[in-house]
């Protein structure tokens, strides 16, 4: 997936002048909130986390070198905070994706519902895979970018994303099959 810089909300990276803090919050609030939301699946907690991330950015504002640096910093800090929150509050679901129950069979497999289903399935992935999937498909980041940001090997990123996709695909296919059987 190729999301352009403008779609990602990244101001012109050639600009050396950092935009005002209020503009940065306005531009990147959806990015920060969505990473937290897709990771935690808790609206209030995600909002709180996003606020904390921006407040930390405000404290470190003088150290920001460029708009691109700001985006990098925000993504990294948000990811770290998400992992911290999950570990601290034990929010991670105990059941793995394979063990998670199928949604009710009466649910229609229409696009909005499929999206909601996929979101739930992503939220049930293990922490690491969940984070990688969110960064890859929400933020449209390349595996190499993700690897650089999280200080891990890019082949690990690719493997983990591939495993997560396999699980999600299998689960969704199973669901569609069940749905068709119920309708027949």
């Amino acid at each position: 997936m190729a999301i352009s810089a403008a779609q990602k909300g990244i101001p012109d990276v050639r600009s050396d002048v950092a935009p005002p803090f209020a503009d940065v919050v306005e531009i990147h609030k959806a990015m920060v909130f969505s990473i937290a939301w897709h990771f935690l699946r808790d609206r209030a907690l995600s909002e709180e986390l996003a606020q904390d991330v921006f407040l930390e950015l405000h404290r470190h504002w003088a150290a920001m070198k460029s708009p691109e640096h700001i985006v990098f910093w925000l993504r990294k800090v948000t990811c770290n905070r998400c992992i911290d929150v999950v570990r601290r509050r034990k929010l991670r679901r105990e059941t793995s994706l394979e063990e998670s129950p199928e949604p009710a069979m009466l649910e229609r497999v229409q696009d909005p519902l499929l999206s909601a289903y996929l979101q739930r399935m992503v939220a049930s992935l293990p922490e690491k895979q969940r984070l990688l999937v969110v960064l890859r498909y929400q933020e449209g980041m390349e595996p190499e970018e993700i690897a650089r940001m999280l200080n891990i090997n890019s082949s690990t990123v690719k493997t983990q994303i591939s495993r997560a996709l396999e699980l999600l695909r299998a689960k969704t296919a199973q669901r569609l099959k069940t749905q068709r059987e119920a309708e027949a």
Partner: protein, 114 residues
């Protein structure tokens, strides 16, 4: 990108935070102190200098310890030398005493013969 990945990307599209988010962040931000450029630079300097300082401390500590060990070895050698001198002095004294006593005995014998 496969169709499934496109569906996934669509499912994970960004969403806006609740209304008033920006104003809440700005209000909270206005109440907290920011790090000045000087403070940020100072922190960066401290963080970068810390490993160098630690290495210097280790090197200096090593050098001091080596010096201490050298002095200790010197002191021990000095004590041994003093002991050796003392023993040698005592032996010399004994020998001298014997020589003197032998001389006195021989002197007394010669006088008696005369």
């Amino acid at each position: 990108m496969t169709e499934f990945e496109q569906q996934l990307a669509q499912a994970l599209e960004r969403r806006e935070p609740p209304a008033g988010f920006t104003s809440r962040v700005l209000a909270a931000a206005s109440q907290q102190p920011t790090r000045s450029r000087w403070q940020a630079w100072r922190w960066a300097f401290v963080l970068r200098a810390a490993p160098v300082m630690a290495a210097l401390l280790v090197v200096a500590g090593g050098a001091l310890y080596q010096n201490y060990e050298r002095i200790e070895r010197g002191e021990a050698a000095k004590q041994q030398l003093l002991l050796a001198v003392k023993i040698a002095g005592a032996k010399l004294y004994d020998a001298r005493q014997r020589v003197v006593s032998i001389g006195e005995i021989r002197g007394a014998g010669t006088e008696e013969e005369q």
